[in-house]
C-alpha cells in the first residue's frame, strides 16, 4: 500500500512518514503545498494520502478535488488543526475519506489509517 504525505510543516511530514513506515506502508513521497502535491500525486500514484488543509499556493480542499478528479480510487485522510465541524464537513464533501484533528498520537494516526484501509477492502 503506497502512501503520500501532504503538509506544509516539515515536522508533521517527517512524523507521519515515520509512524506509517513502521506500519508496513510504503512511503512514496511528500509535498509541502497543494500545487506540488497534485504534481507529485500524478507521478507517484499513491493509494493513500494524508492531507493538511491550510497550505500555501493551493489549499487542501482544492487539492483533494484535483486528486479525486485524476484518480477517484485514492483514499485521503485529512489531518488538520482546524477541527470545527464546518471545516471537517467541507473536507469530506471535497472527497476526503476521513478526518483526524491535530495534534495526534501515533496510535490515533495508525487507527485512522487502518480504518480507512479496512473500508477500502470491504
Amino acid at each position: 500500500m503506497k502512501f503520500m504525505v501532504v503538509d506544509d510543516s516539515m515536522v508533521i511530514r517527517e512524523q507521519i512518514e515515520n509512524i506509517l513506515s513502521d506500519s508496513h506502508f510504503d512511503f512514496v513521497g511528500s509535498a509541502k503545498d497543494g500545487l506540488e502535491a497534485v504534481r507529485e500525486f500524478k507521478l507517484l500514484r499513491p493509494n493513500v494520502v494524508t492531507m493538511d488543509l491550510t497550505m500555501p499556493k493551493m489549499n487542501g480542499g482544492e487539492t483533494i478535488r484535483r486528486m479525486m478528479t485524476y484518480d477517484s480510487s485514492v483514499r485521503i485522510l485529512v489531518i488538520s488543526a482546524l477541527k470545527d465541524k464546518a471545516t471537517a464537513l467541507r473536507a469530506l464533501s471535497s472527497g476526503a475519506y476521513g478526518f483526524l484533528p491535530k495534534p495526534f498520537t501515533s496510535y490515533e494516526l495508525k487507527s485512522a489509517i487502518e480504518k480507512l484501509i479496512a473500508d477500502m477492502e470491504t
Binding site: 510543516s9 516539515m10 515536522v11 508533521i12 517527517e14 512524523q15 512518514e17 515515520n18 509512524i19 513506515s21 513502521d22 491550510t54 488538520s80 488543526a81 482546524l82 477541527k83 470545527d84 464546518a86 471545516t87 484533528p101 491535530k102 495534534p103 495526534f104 498520537t105 501515533s106
Partner: protein, 148 residues
Amino acid sequence: MRTDEIQVFVDGTINFFNTVSSKQAQVGSPHLLEDLSESLFEYTGIIGITGIYSGNILFSAPEKMMHELLVEYEGVDVRSELLLDLVGEVANTLSGNARETLGSEFNISPPVLSRGSVGEITTAKGLQTYCIPIVWGEWRANLILAVS
C-alpha cells in the same frame, strides 16, 4: 473575551503538549502584562482575530523547550530548522481552537511565526494583555492573549 473562551485556548495548548509528549504540561499563574517584550522568548507564533472580539493570541517559547519538545516527536530528526515549524504547529492549534470556539463570524489569520526578533512583535494598542504561563518539565512558555 469571556473566561470560558480563554480557557479553551489554555486547554488547547496544554492538550498539544500532553498529546505529543510523554510529560504533562501545567498552567502557571495568569497575570496582566505591562510590557509584552518581557514575556517573549526566542520562538513566537501569532494569530490575529477580527470580529466581535479583535486582537492577537501569541504562543512564545524558549529555544531549549522547543528543542526538547521536538525530541518527543516519533522518528523526527531533531534539528534547529524544525523549531519554528513546531511553534507553527502550536499556533495552528490555537487557530483551530479559535475557529471552533468563536465561530465562523470571526476572521482568524494564519499564524505569523517569529524567531529571535522580540522587538518587532506587537499587539493591538490599548488592550489588556494577559499572560498565562505553560509549564512543561523544567521549561516555561507563555500563552499571551491581547483581545478586546
